[in-house]
Amino acid sequence: MALNQKVKKIALGLGLILLAIILGSGIGIYNISSGKSDSQRTIGNWKTVDKDKDLNTADLLTIAQVAVYGPYALTKKEVIYLSTNTDSEGNELDPKADYVITGKKLDAKYWSITAYDENGFLIKNPINKYSYNLEDVKYQADSISYKINLSGTEKTENWLPINNVKKTSLIIRLYLPSDKLRENLTIHTLPVIEKVK
């Protein structure tokens, strides 16, 4: 009887240890997939790395998130990445809706806006167009403003297709941004995403 009790006690102890391991690892995996970390800065609906932090010196959680969802990113010295999965009102981007992304030229050696599917891959579409950048976006009459049509249905100009996907997200890349842009990365310098249909 006493032996039976002891075996039960040991089994319970081992079970609790196993539970602690699963709980610890599970919370780790959950936090990685949450996409939230202490090194993040939010500018309107855009998310980027915090001002005084960087991807190679960030906390362990941020490093793990970047490794899983956007590995081999560069540090802020070279590139600033901004991501969003919502429009400017904070509502999740709906691939069945139509959006207009309105912005102005960004003061960087190279900048682009790219659309991705729910797994972070490029979206198959009839015009093989996945992004717009400083060279291929069609500017308005003032030569500095642009409107990009983010939509699953064909548009005549600056169409960034989001066909047949469950979810979509956008990434802005600013390669070698000017010091002025680095210091002035605000809601007013970044593109606005407006739902039109």
Binding site: G13, L16, I17, L19, A20, I21, L23, G24, S25, I27, G28, I29, N31, I32, L55, N56, L60, L61, I63, A64, V66, A67, V68, Y69, G70, P71, Y72, A73, L74, T75, K77, E78, K109, Y110, S112, T114, Y116, N119, G120, F121, L122, I123, K124, N125, N128, Y130, S131, N133, E135, I171, R173, Y175, L176
Partner: protein
Amino acid sequence: MAAAKPLIKKGIFALALVVIAVTFYYLTIWATPYYVQNKFASKSADYINTPRFGDQPNAENSRVIPLPNPDFLYSTINYDLKENVLKISGIVPDSTYWSISAYQENTTNYFVENEEKVKAKFEYYLAPEGSTSEALKNIPKEKIIYSPTSKGLILFRYLVSKAYPVKELSELQHGVTVEKLAK
């Protein structure tokens, strides 16, 4: 006093459980980047210390590493410096963005140079941190990339642009060579 003993035991055990849970939390988030790098490296296990040249990413050819930039041509070198120091050389395009970057085994970036600093040709020596290899003697410091881990990844980015369409850029991309030097 005797009655308090089992309580203390239970308390210590509960504390141990918390310590185990916290340890495994940090272990998971610490180990994940190494797992990711090993997973990607295993896909090119036959090409260690050898350059691989990617086509311009599209929806069909680029479904392994998330968030590819469709404006770039990428080249990679999965490296292992246990037995060699690597000499990496090639040509830099003059009027479009280009960069060479190095990532340690947890995928974090520890080195990057771009075409604004490196002109015309590049030549780098990749060695493990603290290396005293003969191969590095008489090599200027700025040409040596010291890797914090013996394994990692070198990544080249070539921006497809009006000045450099894919065809021209691809020729430069394929001009990168890797020489294995004795450690």
